[in-house]
């Protein structure tokens, strides 16, 4: 880099820092209009930009800065006073200068744009109070201030300013040996330079340079250090696991020391990558100011915990989601002043940004005291947009309804504004937060306000993970996505795993959990492929064949993107803190892997990308979501909505549909197992007496059971609460996902209606009626035994 280039780079970095400072100072000035020190700061910053660019030949930039400077000097000297219109114009100037800087960055010249209009406005404003009244009304409405507690910290500590200089070779991070310092401006590439301490409004303005205590460090170097420390940690682990250590007392002592030092070094390096969340928070007052002005709202921004630190990568990752949430709160959350007043609130809305550490994670809350969220409207919109069905809405808790706003394609904005409400966003917010292993939750009180609560990890470099084995290879699963581990043995496998639409599912406490087989996904030949192949589970008969081969199934239950699924693995090993290594270019495109790590024994384990797996499981999950067994409570009132139906043949011609939600199990029973109790047909089923209904007889269909089936009977076990019955059918045909439309009312007791399903006229079974007519409540004892069953038998739960 030539010296001139270097000067230009420095100029870009400095100017950006200066502009960030100017921006903050202008906002602060609106709250404390008497801050002459602040004005002097602003003046000097603009002045410096102008002074330097004159040497570099950026005449357009110089001219604009000059116009702004003249206006500022009048303000500084008290010839005119700061009006919202002036502040707005100056902020616009900051934006324009930024644009020019970007232009210089990209093209080395300050662009064609002359900003004549802006310059004219700045010149006009030099004459004093000429602010258009409408603008001043709107502008005076939004004051931006910080929470008192925060202001105290600002005076107590130094202040860092980060800017948005994206140039790779100049990008640097401030390494501060002193404690946390609040940072006021966000960055994506992060040049941090210690600025002189800004006098607080009431402060004495005494400032001190912290240049001696801080140095700039190249981010690339920090990354490299981080990487090397990771290697060191792994090597340390290998040494600690070496059996040689146990033989030698001296070696043992020094290896312990090595261990300790490594841990401390790792911690230290990780700290250097930490940046205060104030980096992001700092830019929100401006965002809110501009937005609220547009919407004609009055909003005050308050901040708490700006000094809370996060890894730089995470800071960058949460910047956009947070901005979106803030914009959302301003646009949809906080009401217009007149609405607020008529609701008995102060006309000024409050947007509180809060960050704090909790349990090794960082919690971030964005709270507004606006109108909250009308779940009724959310539900209506959800149905209208096809995100959910009316049926599903009815079963949803308030919380679940609120979470609908994170569904793709959802927006409650009644009109599309230029602020938000484009119908994209909240789902992206959630995806982005989950990508970094975070979670997002929402709390809303109608009329009182909304809180978005984010939890994000402190760092992504070292994470707790579950180590599993499949096909003799080890894989790591980040623990944030892990819900539970399920181990099925012998009989249970058959009982719990089924096939729906050709995909295997596991029945887990009343829900169908889609299963993915890791062995198949990563293409590793699994030795015990028996029951892991979904095709072998097509029918109960096949499943029992496979049972001999397979006697243990390990399922890792994972959650990402709001969807749960089970991952079938060979072995579950242990949980470990792993050092995340990025994948090389060749593997980066593979969506199921998030990275790699090196295990204590020196071997590599790939880290699974749970979100990527979810997408892979996507289709399956969509299907099974509809077939939650707890739809039982609802019965089958929801005709007209989409339902998963079990299609069975009864007699020669009869085709029946049974809502799958009511179906507990499909069984094959021996004719000989049929017994009589109280004159009715029953069988012994799982230590209970199960009433049997021969559908063919009850519904008087033509024909007799197939002769081929010999003495085996196909039985559909139906359950409702604690009542269960077995329906004997001739053949299980299929499971379909149908939009049921009754074509004909019922003409027969036991039949709800008739519909056309897959080209066949199909009678829909009135399961509730059948249960009422035939099912018998189990005796007290069996009820208790049933409830206590620790396996969580899904049947009849």
């Amino acid at each position: 880099m030539s010296e001139m280039d270097e000067a230009i780079q420095e100029f870009l970095i400095e100017s950006d820092e200066n502009l960030s400072q100017v921006e903050q100072d202008l906002l602060e000035l609106e709250t404390h209009p008497d801050g002459s020190d602040i004005l002097a700061n602003i003046f000097r910053a603009v002045h410096t930009v102008k002074g330097t660019c004159s040497f570099l030949g950026y005449s357009k930039l110089e001219s604009l800065a000059h116009t702004g400077e003249t206006l500022l000097s009048l303000l500084r000297d008290g010839d005119i006073t700061l009006t919202p219109a002036i502040a707005s114009a100056l902020l616009k100037m900051v934006d324009a200068i930024r644009q020019m800087l970007t232009c210089i960055q990209e093209t080395t010249v300050d662009g064609e744009e002359e900003y004549g209009e802006l310059k004219a406005l700045l010149t006009e404003l030099q004459k004093g109070d000429v602010a258009p009244s409408s603008q001043s009304d709107a502008a005076s409405s939004d004051q931006v201030s910080e929470a008192p507690v925060d202001a105290d910290q600002t005076t107590a500590e130094g202040e860092q300013v980060v800017n948005e200089e994206p140039s790779a070779d100049e990008v640097a991070l401030s390494v501060s040996p002193t404690a946390v310092a609040p940072v006021e401006h966000a960055s994506n590439a992060a040049v941090v330079e210690e600025k002189k301490e800004k006098a607080a409004p009431s402060g004495d303005g005494k400032s001190q340079s912290a240049v001696d205590a801080n140095i700039r460090v190249d981010v690339g170097l920090l990354d490299k250090l981080m990487n090397m420390v990771g290697e060191l940690v792994l090597t340390r682990n290998q040494i600690l696991q070496s059996p040689m250590i146990l033989d030698d007392a001296a070696l043992q002592t020094s290896s312990q020391r090595l261990s300790l030092i490594t841990s401390e070094l790792q911690e230290g390096i990780m700290k250097t990558r930490m940046q205060p969340i104030g980096n992001i928070f700092g830019k929100f007052p401006r965002v809110v100011r501009d937005l609220s002005m547009n919407c004609g709202k009055q909003i005050r921004v308050e901040m708490e915990g700006k000094e809370t630190e996060l890894d730089k990568t995470l800071i960058e990752a949460i910047k956009d989601p947070l901005t979106h949430l803030v914009r959302n709160s301003v646009d949809h959350g906080i009401e217009t002043p007149d609405v607020r007043q008529s609701n008995g609130k102060s006309s000024e809305g409050i947007l509180l940004l809060r960050a704090y550490h909790e349990g090794g994670q960082v919690n971030i809350e964005i709270t507004d005291d606006g109108g909250g969220i009308n779940t009724q409207r959310v539900a209506e919109t959800g149905v209208k947009r096809g995100v959910v069905t009316q049926d599903q809405i009815a079963k949803m808790s308030e919380r679940e309804l609120l979470n609908l706003i994170f569904m793709p394609g959802f927006s409650t904005a009644e009109k599309v504004t230029n602020v938000s409400g484009r119908g994209v966003g909240m789902d992206v917010v959630r995806t982005n937060i989950e990508k970094i292993g975070g979670t997002i939750d929402i709390q809303a009180h109608l009329g009182k306000g909304t809180t978005f609560k984010l939890k994000v990890p402190l760092t992504l470099a070292i994470i707790p993970a579950l180590i599993i084995t499949t096909g003799h290879e080890r894989f790591a699963i980040p623990q944030v996505s892990l819900l539970e581990l399920v181990r099925l043995e012998g009989e249970q496998i058959k009982k719990f795993i089924d096939t729906v639409h050709g995909a295997s599912v596991c029945r887990l406490r009343g829900t169908l959990l889609p299963l993915l087989h890791l062995g198949q996904i990563v293409g590793l030949d699994v030795k015990e492929s028996g029951s892991k192949n979904p095709e072998t589970m097509e029918s109960p008969a096949d499943a029992s064949d496979a049972e001999a081969v397979e006697n243990v199934v390990n399922i890792v239950v994972l959650q990402a993107d709001g969807q749960r699924f089970g991952l079938v693995v060979d072995e579950i090993n242990d949980t470990e803190e792993i050092v995340v290594k990025p994948l090389s270019k060749q593997l980066k495109g593979v969506p199921v892997f998030a990275g790699a790590t090196i295990m204590g024994d020196g071997r590599v384990a790939l880290i699974l990308d749970v979100l990527g797996l979810t997408n892979r499981a996507g289709m399956t999950i969509q299907h099974t979501e509809n077939s939650r067994i707890d739809q039982l409570e609802k019965g089958f009132d929801g005709i007209g909505s989409r339902d998963t139906l079990l299609i069975v043949k009864v007699g020669e011609t009869g085709q029946l549909a049974i809502p799958l939600t009511m179906v507990a199990r499909l069984e094959e029973i021996k004719m000989a197992a049929l017994e009589k109790a109280c004159g009715k047909e029953v069988i012994q089923y799982r230590g209970e007496i199960l009433p049997i209904i021969q559908l063919c007889d009850v519904l008087s269909y033509q024909g007799t059971p197939d002769a081929d089936s010999g003495d085996a009977l196909q039985m559909v076990v139906i359950s409702h609460g604690q009542r269960r019955i077995g329906l004997v059918v001739d053949r299980i045909v299929d499971i379909v996902d149908e939009h049921l439309q009754a074509k004909q009312g019922s003409t027969k007791p036991g039949i709800l209606c008739s519909a056309v399903i897959q080209g066949h006229v199909t009678d829909v079974l009135d399961v509730q009626q059948l249960i009422l007519d035939y099912a018998v409540l189990p005796a007290e004892e069996s009820v208790e035994a049933f409830i206590e069953d620790p396996v969580g038998e899904f049947v009849g739960v």
Binding site: M4, E14, K50, L56, E69, S207, S209
Partner: protein, 122 residues
Amino acid sequence: MRALVIDDSKAMRIILKQILQSVGGTSVEEAGNGKEGLDKLKSMEKPDVVLVDWNMPVMNGLEFVRAVRGNPTYRTLPLMMVTTETESSQMGKALAAGANEYVMKPFTKDVIQEKLKILGIK
């Protein structure tokens, strides 16, 4: 010629350093503000000329000039103030405080060369 450049903008320092080197500067030291400038002045070999910006945080150019002139060692040290036209009206103060010369931004190599000549520095 040994020189000390005091400016809060690193970009400006680079530019000034470059200009000074092109007119015969052999060693050019830098400082980010007046206070740092004073420290630097004490630690370095006595320079032939000091270029100091007016507007700086912590200690501005005017304060620096006063502080330097207050020290008998530097009573004759050639001081050149670098400034912009908005401060030119205040240049009287700077000269009164003891600055030898002032240069207005933006300037060219020739201007610096001429000013150095006036101050008798080679």
